[in-house]
Amino acid sequence: MGMGLTDTCSSDVAAPHAAAPRILLIIPCFNEEASIGGVLSEIAATGRHYHTLVVDDGSSDATSAVASCRSPVARLAQNLGIGGAVQTGIKYAARQDFDFCVQIDGDGQHDPRAVETLLNAYRMQPANITIGSRFIEHEGFCSTRMRRAGIRLIVLALNGLFGGGRITDPTSGMRLLDRSAIAFFAKAYPTDFPEPISLAWALRAGLTVSEVPIEMRARETGVSSIDGLKSASYMVRVLGYILLARLVRSR
């Protein structure tokens, strides 16, 4: 079930769409030639009319070539990191006038069938951002214990500093953005640690956030860029950015 995380909302949440909404699936990729074909096949297999945009974040392998057979590909000339890649997709969604966009990782972690779950949650309880959370029902791949502890700290910081509700999975990349959120993030989106910090920015700006349980899978290929000592550095920096977001006035 989706949860309303803020009681009041300064931004408009559109009424649930009666007709079929235009949905863009943003697929950021960096050297995902081994998995991107499978991800696009899975999307096609859902039988839904989703538009896709693969954002090739400066891959040195054949990611673009593999993806371009089945989807438009925005090829970044240089690696911008996940934040820059996702924002490229969000800008595309804003310009092409999509009703919603959803981020689907190119490494196969996200099940495209969960997009329907996000949409249903939105229809029942519209919010500007609907997060697919791994930690409401604790099913599927829930990351390592160490990382879950870190996520808990981020949750405490976000809920404590911005209040109004309870976010359980601030690092989940799978999230549905409505028009207001698309317009907001097209203007500014964090390049470092984008998932939790974008939430802090959104909450500061008065956007509403809800969550719905989904299952995630372990990545098919590649390794996480946040391991070992980097995790500690990640935590400190994310918490610092969240605190900073609280201190800065809304833009």
Partner: protein, 125 residues
């Protein structure tokens, strides 16, 4: 105040360094490698020690006024201040350039995508 003044050798060495350094900086500024702000900030590395050497009584006066016993501590303090001001400005500039670079790369990729769609005679989405 004290009578410990720099020796003629010190004055010659510091002045020569300041002159050569400033000429090199000026040359690079004229070549467009630095702008006027960079030129001014970087030239402080020569101007401040030269000022302390050529006008030692002024250096003692400044250290006396600031309550610092040794003038060279004041000199290094001034140099650190300039370096930090320069770093502060450079960091802000770098951050702005990074954002602009990111936006340009995004724009380029989206325009290329749009162009490709137009060439195929399709709407972009």
């Amino acid at each position: 105040m004290t009578n410990a003044l720099p020796s003629p050798e010190t004055v010659v060495v510091i002045s020569a360094f300041a002159l050569i350094y400033m000429v090199v900086l000026l040359k690079k500024t004229l070549q467009g490698k630095f702008d006027l702000y960079d030129f001014l900030m970087l030239s402080m590395v020569a101007i401040i020690p030269a000022g302390f050497t050529l006008f030692p009584r002024l250096a003692y006066l400044v250290s006396h006024l600031t309550g610092v016993v040794f003038p060279f501590v004041v000199m290094f303090g001034a140099l650190f201040l300039v370096v930090f001001a320069f770093m502060h400005n450079m960091t802000a500039r770098l951050h702005r350039l990074e954002r602009q670079n990111c936006a340009l790369i995004q724009e380029q990729s989206l325009l290329a995508l749009e162009l490709k769609a137009k060439e195929r005679g399709q709407p972009a989405a």
